[in-house]
Symmetry: D2
Subunit: 344 residues, 4 copies
Amino acid sequence: MLYFTSDYTTGAHPEVMARLNETNLEHTVGYGADPYCTEARQLIREVCQAPDALVQFLVGGTQTNATVIDALLQRHEGVMAAQTAHINVHESGAIEHSGHKVLVLPSHDGKVWADEVEQYVSDFYRDETYEHMVAPGLLYITQATEYGTIYSLAELEELSAVCHRHQIPLFLDGARLGYALASDAADFTLADIARLCDVFYIGGTKQGLLFGEAVVAADPARLPHFLPLVKQHGALMAKGRLLGVQFGALFKDDLYGRIGAHADAMAMRIRQTFEQAGYKAAIDSPTNQQFFVLPNDVLDRLSAHVSFELWGPRGESETTVRFVTSWATSQADVDALGELLRGF
Amino acid sequence: MLYFTSDYTTGAHPEVMARLNETNLEHTVGYGADPYCTEARQLIREVCQAPDALVQFLVGGTQTNATVIDALLQRHEGVMAAQTAHINVHESGAIEHSGHKVLVLPSHDGKVWADEVEQYVSDFYRDETYEHMVAPGLLYITQATEYGTIYSLAELEELSAVCHRHQIPLFLDGARLGYALASDAADFTLADIARLCDVFYIGGTKQGLLFGEAVVAADPARLPHFLPLVKQHGALMAKGRLLGVQFGALFKDDLYGRIGAHADAMAMRIRQTFEQAGYKAAIDSPTNQQFFVLPNDVLDRLSAHVSFELWGPRGESETTVRFVTSWATSQADVDALGELLRGF
Amino acid sequence: MLYFTSDYTTGAHPEVMARLNETNLEHTVGYGADPYCTEARQLIREVCQAPDALVQFLVGGTQTNATVIDALLQRHEGVMAAQTAHINVHESGAIEHSGHKVLVLPSHDGKVWADEVEQYVSDFYRDETYEHMVAPGLLYITQATEYGTIYSLAELEELSAVCHRHQIPLFLDGARLGYALASDAADFTLADIARLCDVFYIGGTKQGLLFGEAVVAADPARLPHFLPLVKQHGALMAKGRLLGVQFGALFKDDLYGRIGAHADAMAMRIRQTFEQAGYKAAIDSPTNQQFFVLPNDVLDRLSAHVSFELWGPRGESETTVRFVTSWATSQADVDALGELLRGF
Amino acid sequence: MLYFTSDYTTGAHPEVMARLNETNLEHTVGYGADPYCTEARQLIREVCQAPDALVQFLVGGTQTNATVIDALLQRHEGVMAAQTAHINVHESGAIEHSGHKVLVLPSHDGKVWADEVEQYVSDFYRDETYEHMVAPGLLYITQATEYGTIYSLAELEELSAVCHRHQIPLFLDGARLGYALASDAADFTLADIARLCDVFYIGGTKQGLLFGEAVVAADPARLPHFLPLVKQHGALMAKGRLLGVQFGALFKDDLYGRIGAHADAMAMRIRQTFEQAGYKAAIDSPTNQQFFVLPNDVLDRLSAHVSFELWGPRGESETTVRFVTSWATSQADVDALGELLRGF
């Protein structure tokens, strides 16, 4: 079987596992106060060029989104996000569980547009009854988006400008940030992200770790009393050093960049493979998620040998599918996929 | 340095790490629907003699408590717990974050008494204004308690009887359940726990895993729609199989029992060591946490060579300390501790 | 000045005030356990032909929506409502404050369509990842809607059928229910509402009371432990009899019906008046809210003599306005409005 | 029947009803933006000597406590209160519903002691694990307390000093503040309260209004964005002017002071009457709530002619009872009570 189902179907990258094994018998204090977390925080501050940054490690994406958004919003405020955003669709109401409304913006292949954010906020305060409505108190974006697309540096700067003009923080969900950074289409660095976003997180679960997300706020005053809030959200690991060890492995010798570059390269080859076989990409994604519309008979024959996800419900005659790459995707896998496609 | 700080200062037991390494490169589906979780669930059902049980894996203790309690309580209800209970003291308000009040009962070395539970519930419904008060809707106990003490089978049966007479579920926090089960003082089995408690969890974080808690409800109807609630609480792991692999390792060849027995034996020897050196145990704990009152000069000299926790604030002349054992505690460590004590 | 701003700009209908004055010095028990509440409950049960109904009085609309929705939803569920629904737009996030997501359906002049509800629920459970999404657990509708429109009996029956096929309760916000019932377009009775909706409320604030909303559930099992929940939501009045006295006045001698009929008749004449002056109704509303698109110069001249609301932002050349009637609207007011319009 | 059950068993004071009647037919804007609210706010600012104060009217006590506490607390914080405090006992979990823990202090006849507050806060930050615990973020006190007792000016100054030393706001629940102010034992004014408490409220429901509580913050920056939060809590009245009209009536011609003085005088005579009959006061209360321990046979005979509340469960031979006065308590009622007592 060839696996293109997702970027979280295996364990950790071997370099990460190696470090977990090497450190396994050591004793350290808990809850992230250990030397491995300290070191990983420092590595992240350096690559982000944010020497004072607060860096806090959490376990998973939904819990990170819920905790950060809860920390950033005042009670009368909600979080603006694209209709298709993970927090609006696929987190079982975790944001609302903390008492906050998701304020929906149009999604353009997963992205929001700065002028539509501007419009939303301006319209809001022009409405005389605005105190009876949920105030836009935060903008949430994903990079890469749920559709594999990415914001350019110019777009990020525009969004950041709109937000700061209205004193609204900007929060970037980087569950797949490494695949965005490594993309040929990327014209931004982690330092740009850290400069333009009030808070963001570097996803580890989907990029080579067993689990883990690193929340970064260049200005730590953005997240006061964050540790008790992480604990309150059930997101503080007892054996916190597991996160430090893993993120240390990810940012030493730029494993993070290597994984991103490899997965993106494999994704581009998959796209080429499909296009050569006559199936156009459904979305112009430059990252590790690729979407294609396949005739149902092709889909069915492929399913016998290849694992991948349907993207939405099965259509009557054709269906959109998603192919995802990771560090574990090999050139051999992609070649085999090509052979299969050519055989149909 | 000798380490008796806690049972979560190292990584995983080597047998657990071995299984994580062996399975690391395999592809599985996410969120706990993989074969390793299925197998681990089955092993737990067997040892609990609860063939239909719901078994759901979560990551950490606070998140497990918050999620289960949220699942079991109706909105007008609160959870009864000892004054000293982890949920009342050390979870940064995670229970209240989900909207629930902790209803405080007296703590007897960490335990609640059945007659006091009975009194609380009876008094509540005798009060004419009870609809203006938070109804007792759940009883939370810990086994072993925060003080290392354990409920006997008779005590558990009494608590279970009081609860069920009032149609109140009983939830047992088993973060250190294995140390209770393995204790010489224990007269109960996992099957007893599963029979007497509506819901309980088997702690892994403190007993040889990297992380992980296994929630068990012998009657799955006790926890309807539990998966979306786990997700909503940010407690659903993407790479869910990590929990299955680890719990599989814990319950195959009874690693769980072996770890418990070893740690408890080491704890008893530590207690003996202290007592022989003239320091009485502060609490009569038969499990892996031991408490002693030490003169401050002894405490200071010991601190140079041994890592352990103060239990409460440092006193003027003497201070209560906690020593904790785990699978990683060796007889050599305990011997070395004895030599140090004899040397003062 | 002529007042058509809203139906809550005056105090109470004189018959209601009279009863408050008559009973003012009496002593009764608090929190709604008094004879006036008992009597008002009975009157409402009779007119609803629901002899066993739970009838609970609350103070205002937002608090009633928040409390009932919190009572009806399980934690993993959200409430379906039209995009334009009061709970989605104008309650400052009260629903999310209780932890629940509003699941948005298309609005057709304020109404939802049964087939779109059916589609939403069916699509939800066809999605393999539905446990990662907020389940539709309740349908919320308004009658009359925020746009003055009403559901016909057939439409209510369809909605009720869809809901019950999926075991989803139907909740009707009747803040302006009396104006719907009294409309010439209405083909349903309060008994139909009570039969088809699991829970609904009879609005008093907007129909002649100082304040007050009466929640009705024909089957009281739909709202177990409702009183403590009302208290928890800060919605239980100490002097609860004020609600009983007022609802008693409203339902004795059918003041409720008389107010509705009067206000609707005035609304129809206002519509006629505008149409005769050449301004078409923007929405085909058969109840006490009427909407017109006016040229801005007409709007400005009118504003000097008449109080009314803009419906949305002022347009460049023309603007939608809302005119609302109540028991306090007189034929003389409507005539005077007509003269003004003819004078422009 | 003689009524001493509570201070909320009748409607409004006749002077208040008169104003409601006089203004009933007027049209005003909703939600508290009307001239009556503006005027009442101004009257309250004057009597509080707080010219810039935010004054916001809410409907009832539980909702006021829940809304203010939610506004003042950060998410990782809880509210300190006496064990016996209304928010800890009799609000059905309204505080926890908003996500906050009540941190319990010892109750001394309903009061907390400044040195115990100091101790609690100091101990908290001395605990190394304090970030795993709920931080004390607010102090809640009642004046008069649930036991009728009052804090002296010196005690209020001490509490205020402790709070401000730790940058913790002080919130005073003044549901019965007027009875405290009017007491012979009082050595403080409303201006003192406004100066010493960051936020407090003036109770109307229990002192002559149909309903209504006026929240006051001398420094409005203490309650930013309070209006949407009031709306979110379901506490914003559509016909908001009803609160302005009533509080206007209460503070013009010092009806507030007159009601307080009358009720306290009646209470003192009741106490004298019981003491002359040989029944000592159970608590030394200088305000409108008086507590006595009565033999059960006296209690039973009294119950045939007098309405009052048991304070706690009925004892085996004797029971504590509560007698409450209000503006509606007459000297004749008290005389009649005296005759009854003398007759036993």
